[in-house]
Amino acid sequence: MSDSPAIAHGAPADAHLEHPSYLRHHFNSVEQQADTTNFAMWLFLLTEIMFFGGLFTAYLIYRNWYYPAFVAGSHQLNVVWGTLNTVVLIGSSFTMAMGVWCAETRRRRGLVLCLTLTCILGLCFLGIKTVEYREKFEMHHVPGQHYSLQSFLDPQSNPAVFAEYHDKPLALDMARHTEIYFSLYFALTGMHALHMIIGIGILVFMIFRAQAGAYTAGHVTFVENFGYYWHFVDLVWIYLFALLYLISRHQ
């Protein structure tokens, strides 16, 4: 109902004269374009929140139902690897943020460096994740046909990462529910890793484009939006780390 602020009336649509090449034809100004893609990115991240939201809901419910199983399950995770991964990911977020700054201040080499570092740190994360996954594989903690309850029924046979917990054997029925914990673990970290892989793919593409100077000519929207995505993935991990590794350590 309010009057809109008077915006330059009747700006002719074909005033293309001094428009930069990256301005798409249907926008009136670079600011509008940047704002729009920015907003679109945020909306996309909203869908990501809801995507992970479903899993978080499941996690919350089952943790309340099967707490001992979740404790035993999380004792099988290696907090050292988890912490290391958190640090790696925070580092990559930092380099990404620096990358955005480089792009904004038109430092091409800085940008390439930052993106490359981000990419490497992302790969480090995935590497560590792979090590962790392999451990789970070896111990038959991957849900499904080959899932083994051994390490929960008889903790001595397969000591937890931190022996000082002295895990007592779980009752068989509760031990079975550790499969739910690992189902959630793999669903959550798997979805997260998938996001990382997609992110790294885009990063590689961006490094090549950055090399060519694509983002250091004043048009930083793409880098910035990708940065949002990357930070979001980092943010999800911050919660995953807390939920999966940290909050269920004590019976």
Binding site: A6, H25, A40, G54, A58, P143, G144, Q145, I180, A187
Partner: protein
């Protein structure tokens, strides 16, 4: 007054403008690689019509099977596959994208005074995703089908069927992303691409309705996506999140599924409501009664729509207290729909009403949607839900809302904007006939199903006790008429592409920005950036405008 209305352009001499979005480029590639929202809308229109008729053919098979109490036309598992595919195709590949992806895509930028949607490439991507999902669904159908019902109920879908649950799930997943991108594009466009002077409360109600629906698409669909992913993982690897044998809770799947699938019914119906607002206003030459209330009721439906999903689970063993909460909220979400119906009725008051085809469809919508909405209250009331849910009552209810409501609105919209989309008029008399045939056929098909449901006939039955036969015969007979009612528009609309009368810019004397430009529009929509200096549905402004034009021409 009537003398100030400028008569329609002389149609014998009028020409379709040489330069328009259709004629700008030629060749298949120019369509497949287009980023013009209007062309993408046409792509969508063709593809959803295709899927509609596939879904319709499946519906025909269902009705034929139900003509007799025994399962004689097809085996029970064939029947199960048929109704599953009918549901999947009609919901994910017709109803969800129907109005938004076609009319919404075509009109929202124009209504806002923009040259295109904010993200044209994403728009094209969403059509490709839609087609990928659709083709996958067709492939599923060809390669043996799937028989879980469109609701993918666990543990049936995860452990007890051997059909193509995975490909169907993937099809729905991909189509879901198409819908997310459409919704995202609309929200961004509505926020960022409005022409100068186009404030929120000057937007047509069509845009408001799409805004509300888009919120639901963006926030609801991902939850469906994750639910489907978990079902797929449970089928393939055997994770146990919904598996009662491993300690999972199958009701959790229901929660996640309906968290999307209930708002999805609003995704389907809200854009239809937007169409009706435009049509009723135009053909009664009058501002929509209580514009603000109608606009806010759309948003209210979107917001409340997120809090009512568990009314699909009243008898599934969720807690009685949760039932109380969800039942109460369901009652609240019914109110905005009631507001809309009465506001539309009062828009007619002191109008100057004509009865072209879109208006007939709109009247049909109002009647059928009222019935559909009120029977929804039967089901939202926790007590009566016990008796009526999972019977043909519920089938009749959502077909009244979806087919009687949404499809009527879709047809109303297609006829209403046909002159704008193609530049040509549809043949009025036969289309009025089609509207009436559809209305009669629809009621004959689905009204008996309310009685069937009250009598207790369960849904998804290939065979049923013989005493239900007579009503099923009525229903099948009605479906035949309904089929004719839907085929007619395809025929005469196609005919009109070549032989229809030239429409001119504004054949309905409507006020929307889309009617102030040439039909079919230019690729850029506007020759110069429009400036909105009046409210929506301002018929006096239109009169003045016309008077000015006449004066300047004179």
């Amino acid at each position: 007054m009537s003398d100030t209305i400028v008569s329609l352009p002389d149609q014998s001499t009028a020409r379709i403008p040489k330069v328009n979005y259709l004629s700008k480029e030629n060749g298949l590639l120019s369509w497949l690689l287009t980023s013009d929202h209007k062309r993408i809308a046409i792509l969508y229109l063709i593809s959803i019509t295709f899927f509609f008729f596939i879904g319709g053919a499946l519906a025909g098979l269902i009705r034929l099977e139900l003509l007799t109490p025994q399962s004689d036309l097809m085996a029970t598992d064939t029947y199960n596959k048929v109704f599953t595919m009918h549901g999947v195709i009609m919901i994910f590949f017709f109803l969800v994208p129907s109005v938004p992806a076609t009319l919404g895509n075509f009109l929202i930028p124009i209504m806002l005074g923009a040259k295109d949607l904010a993200l044209p490439k994403i728009n094209l991507l969403s059509w490709y995703l839609y087609m990928a999902g659709g083709l996958l669904a067709l492939y599923t159908m060809m390669s043996g089908g799937v028989d879980t019902g469109w609701t993918f109920t666990t543990p049936l879908s995860t452990h007890y069927v051997n059909t193509n649950v995975l490909t169907t799930g993937l099809a729905v997943f991909v189509a879901g992303f198409s819908s997310i991108f459409t919704g995202l594009n609309f929200i961004v466009t509505i926020h960022k691409m409005r022409a100068p002077g186009m404030t929120w409360f000057r937007m047509p109600l069509f845009v408001w309705a799409h805004y509300a629906a888009s919120i639901l698409m963006v926030l609801g669909t991902p939850v469906l996506a994750i639910a489907i992913v978990l079902v797929a993982l449970e089928r393939t690897i055997g994770i146990g999140i919904f598996d009662p044998a491993k300690g999972g809770d199958p009701l959790l799947f229901q929660h996640l599924f309906w968290f999307y699938s209930h708002p999805a019914v609003y995704i389907m119906i809200l854009p239809g409501m937007g169409v009706i607002s435009e049509v009723i206003s135009t053909f009664s030459r009058k501002r929509v009664f209580g514009y603000t209330a109608v606009a806010f009721s759309s948003v209210a439906i979107a917001v409340f729509g997120f809090f009512v999903w568990a009314h699909h689970m009243f008898i599934m063993g969720i807690s009685n207290y949760a039932v109380l909460v969800f039942s109460l909220l369901t009652m609240l979400v019914a109110v905005p729909s009631a507001i809309k119906i009465f506001n539309w009725a009062f828009t007619l008051y002191k109008g100057s009403i004509t009865f072209e085809t879109p208006m007939l469809y709109a009247f049909g919508f109002m009647g059928l949607f009222t019935i559909g909405g009120m029977t929804g209250v039967f089901l939202g009331t926790s007590g009566t839900d016990i008796h009526l849910t999972e019977t043909y009552f519920i089938v009749a209810h959502f077909h009244f809302v979806m087919v009687g409501g949404m499809l009527m609105a879709f047809l109303a919209g297609i006829h209403f904007w046909w002159p704008k989309i193609t530049g040509r008029m549809y043949p009025e008399k036969i289309s009025q006939l089609a509207a009436v045939v559809t209305f009669i056929g629809f009621n004959l098909t689905f009204f008996p199903q309310f009685i069937l449901g009250a009598l207790g006939m369960p849904r998804r039955y290939a065979a049923y006790p013989p005493e239900f036969q007579i009503l099923n015969v009525f229903s099948t007979a009605g479906a035949t008429i309904l089929g004719v009612g839907y085929l007619l528009p395809v025929l005469y609309l196609t005919w009109s592409l070549k032989y229809g009368a030239i429409a001119g810019n504004n054949p309905w004397q409507a006020t929307g920005l889309e009617w102030q430009i040439q039909s079919p529009p230019l690729t850029e929509n506007f020759t110069e950036l429009p400036i909105m200096d009046h409210e929506a549905y301002d018929y006096e402004w239109l009169e003045n405008q016309k008077a000015k034009e006449v004066a300047s021409v004179g």
